[in-house]
Symmetry: C2
Subunit: 443 residues, 2 copies
């Protein structure tokens, strides 16, 4: 392996290797370009070369090679880590999200569940079946088998607990984080109980939908007698290799989605925005993060009748380039003060980007949303498709909530969307080997 | 381009290039291996090389390079062809299936719809947006935009009409094919109207779910005022690159699914099994095929409690290798007469493979199924996941129906599945450039 090649491989093992140019942390981008110019050919050859030996390392797409798949299906994102994976991890192609309700009232059984889940999650994210011993003919197989032979596909499994976990059942009331306050009702909400809440939230993401499904199904199976599914939602974005490497994916309204997100490679920003700091209470959440999930249906048929001007005014960005109105490039800053000849703001006062951007840096969230499409809504006869909005933050009360309050009140996008599901979860810090996820809360 | 390389490229443009080793047509397999040995390195280099110029040609994965993605996202499967694409096309990773009902009673409007659909399908399968002219600010964009910048991803769009198309509304009654008889009721069916029937069936497949969704959505939009969605179902299999190239994908019961399928590269077999022959009536179906769709829910929780022996007896195959019971390799023939020491058949009389295999070669069908996972069934509180079973044949009355009658009666698999949806469609022959899909029926 030549030196440059090795360097990139090592980086990729941190599990944060950018597979797309949402990575704007210019150093690794530039490294890549340099490599593509100089040793790039060797790099490509090596990465697709005589199979197997590179297991667990990233295959890098040279930026010029748009046919190459962007992420190596063999890449493993380590499960045991200071933080849980799946939060500042560059978004995989698919999500299987699930909310569970506990059917036990014994805390000891909840602990056991999280111990089993931790062990299984560590295996499945490494591409191994749960269980492990040889299957016996006279027993149900330990693993359900549909991912046999498939690669890890950057699977991450992220666990959290909802506000209901702290009700009378388990005696955990005193440990409830203040930040996990009930979300207020937002104007326009049309929440349906079948897509709300849950004692436990589990976000499974992977670059392969079958691999993600397999993980969630095996977790569900391990919960038998202790917890049942309350609601689930699958989601997708365009597959890694299906577009030019590094383009921001588009949502189902046809706009690039994720441009204004903070940079996941900026550790300082992630500490400021995402990770609960050690100075905060409760201690068991230190190094964790709060996840807010909103199932947001799009009124696709209405949107599809609106003019391009209207659509661009709605987001305050151009559809084609993703650039802010009045600017040229996707990542140009929002010129919130700029006016047109008539003295009107270039980016309308009701534009989604303007309202979501806010004025306070402390209000930022890290979005990690997926598109969904779930057949036809029986109530309306229209496509049930939209956005499974997910964001992570240190404190929803000062981040998601004020943003969403502004959006609910004034966002022009409200003509085209309706929030039908909602949940939030306190996502634990990571587990160390030998420990288990949730240990800090349950012990 | 060297000679060997060129040869493979040309083959791949037929749109039938095997992306996995379900292709057991040994010639192309051997070609590939030869190439990988000799010119393989150059091949790989070329195929990921200085982007863009090779648009529309296949990137070939060397069989040894299991990290490589199996299909080139830039590959276009030609829309205009003697047969419709998406039938004997090696299965893509995703499906968006939709059944439409016509809201018009004017045949002229139906014709116009199919003309618009043909034009749009030709564009979208080539990776182009519908419409085409520059978007105007004061108009709704012609294309909904969420696939902008994405590759064609081997998109196919396959159209058919259901039995209801021939009722009193359009005066087409006399043209109804006898082969499109109503399906009989099968024992155990638990069909729900929301997953049954439809005047028109559209099967969109692609190696990217967002690309497939985009195509179906734009077709739906083009149908406005003429047809509405009746039901839809998304489905998946493991993504091309997520497992060793060429392995038969597994269904959600963990078994390899597709082993016993006829070889799509065997033209004679496809004529015998799939394509309606010129000698048959009606003439407008010559070169077409009949599609049967069954939405089959799996009782996953029950399955997961059954022993490995039970599971293998259910299919008559080993879970791990996919080989028939008593045999060694996946593609070994089913030894239907073999007995164990106790004199019992090795492959039980109620095994799915045995019953589905049948005794008459003329009964074979070409299966093209996908796994689905659609959240939780409100009626049972369990996962709504299973198989979107799709098969193609010359005549369902003598192919799907007798097989399914045997299965419904005796299949051990019935303990673990329930058919909840059903539809069938007469899928037209292909269209030539300048013509439109369905022309033979409507003109
Ligand atoms: C279906 C619903 C939604 C859609 C389609 C949508 C789409 C978009 C788009 C296209 C952008 C511009 C590109 C970008 O910066 O990513 C954007 C920005 C943003 N959205 Fe949304 N969004 C939705 C809901 C929400 C919700 C519920 C929140 C609540 C917190 C939110 C927060 C944000 C933020 C913080 C930004 C970045 C603003 C900036 O700082 O530039 N979005 N959204
Ligand atoms: C959820 C429902 C079903 C599942 C999970 C399932 C699964 C399987 C599996 C694992 C095999 C063995 C591997 C292979 O040859 O592909 C198989 C074979 C087969 N199945 Fe199914 N199947 C289902 C429903 C059906 C239905 C409704 C039909 C109706 C026509 C059918 C027809 C066949 C045929 C023709 C074969 C090949 C038999 C042979 O000639 O060897 N299957 N199926």
């Amino acid at each position: 392996m030549d030196e440059a090649n090795k360097q990139v491989t090592e980086k990729s093992q941190e599990g944060e290797k950018p597979r797309d140019v949402q990575d704007r942390s210019s150093i690794s981008r530039r490294d890549l370009l340099k490599l593509a110019g100089a040793g790039g050919v060797g790099l490509l050859l090596g990465s697709v070369g005589v199979g197997g030996v590179w297991a667990g390392t990233a295959k890098l797409a040279a930026p010029t090679a748009s046919t190459a798949s962007n992420a190596d299906p063999k890449q493993v994102i380590p499960f045991y880590d200071a933080h849980q994976a799946g939060i500042v991890t560059s978004a995989q192609d698919f999500i299987c999200f699930a909310a569970f309700d506990l059917t036990t009232v014994k805390l000891s059984e909840v602990k056991d569940l999280f111990r089993r889940w931790t062990e299984a999650a560590a295996k499945m994210t490494a591409g191994q079946p749960v269980g492990g011993e040889e299957d016996q003919q006279s027993m149900p197989p330990a693993d359900t088998g549909e991912a046999a032979g498939l690669h890890p596909c950057r699977t991450t499994i992220t666990f959290g607990v909802g506000p209901s976990m702290f009700d009378a059942r388990f005696g955990l009331g005193a440990k409830r984080p203040e930040a996990l306050a009930d979300l207020p009702r937002f104007g326009g909400d049309s929440l349906r109980p079948e897509w709300c809440g849950g004692d436990i939230g589990v976000q499974v993401c992977a670059d392969d939908l079958q691999v993600a499904f397999h993980a969630l199904r095996n977790l569900t199976r391990l919960a038998r007698g202790v917890a049942v599914l309350r609601w689930t939602q699958e989601g997708f974005q365009r597959t890694g290799g299906s577009g030019p490497a590094g383009e921001t994916p588009r949502n189902l309204l046809g706009f690039k989605d994720g441009t204004g997100n903070p940079d996941i490679h900026d550790k300082q920003a992630m500490n400021d925005i995402v990770w609960v700091q050690p100075s905060k209470q409760p201690a068991w959440m230190s190094g964790g993060s709060y996840m807010v999930v909103r199932r947001i249906r799009m009124r696709i048929e209405v949107w599809d009748r609106s003019t391009l001007s209207d659509q661009e005014a709605t987001f305050g960005r151009y559809r084609s380039s993703g650039a802010p109105l009045g600017a040229k490039n996707e990542f140009d800053p929002l010129a919130l003060d700029a006016k047109n000849e008539a003295g009107q703001p270039l980016i309308p006062l009701t534009a989604h980007s303007r309202l979501a951007h806010g004025e306070q840096p402390a209000e930022k969230v890290l979005r990690r949303s997926y598109s969904y499409s779930s057949g036809i809504d029986r109530q309306t006869g229209q496509l049930d498709a939209g956005l499974l909005f997910i964001c992570y933050q240190r404190d929803p009360r000062t981040q998601f909530v004020p943003i969403q309050q502004r959006l609910a009140k004034r966002d022009k996008l409200n003509e085209y969307i309706v929030h039908v599901g909602s949940a939030q979860f306190a996502c634990f810090p990571g587990a160390r080997q030998g420990g288990y996820i949730g240990e800090g809360l349950f012990e």
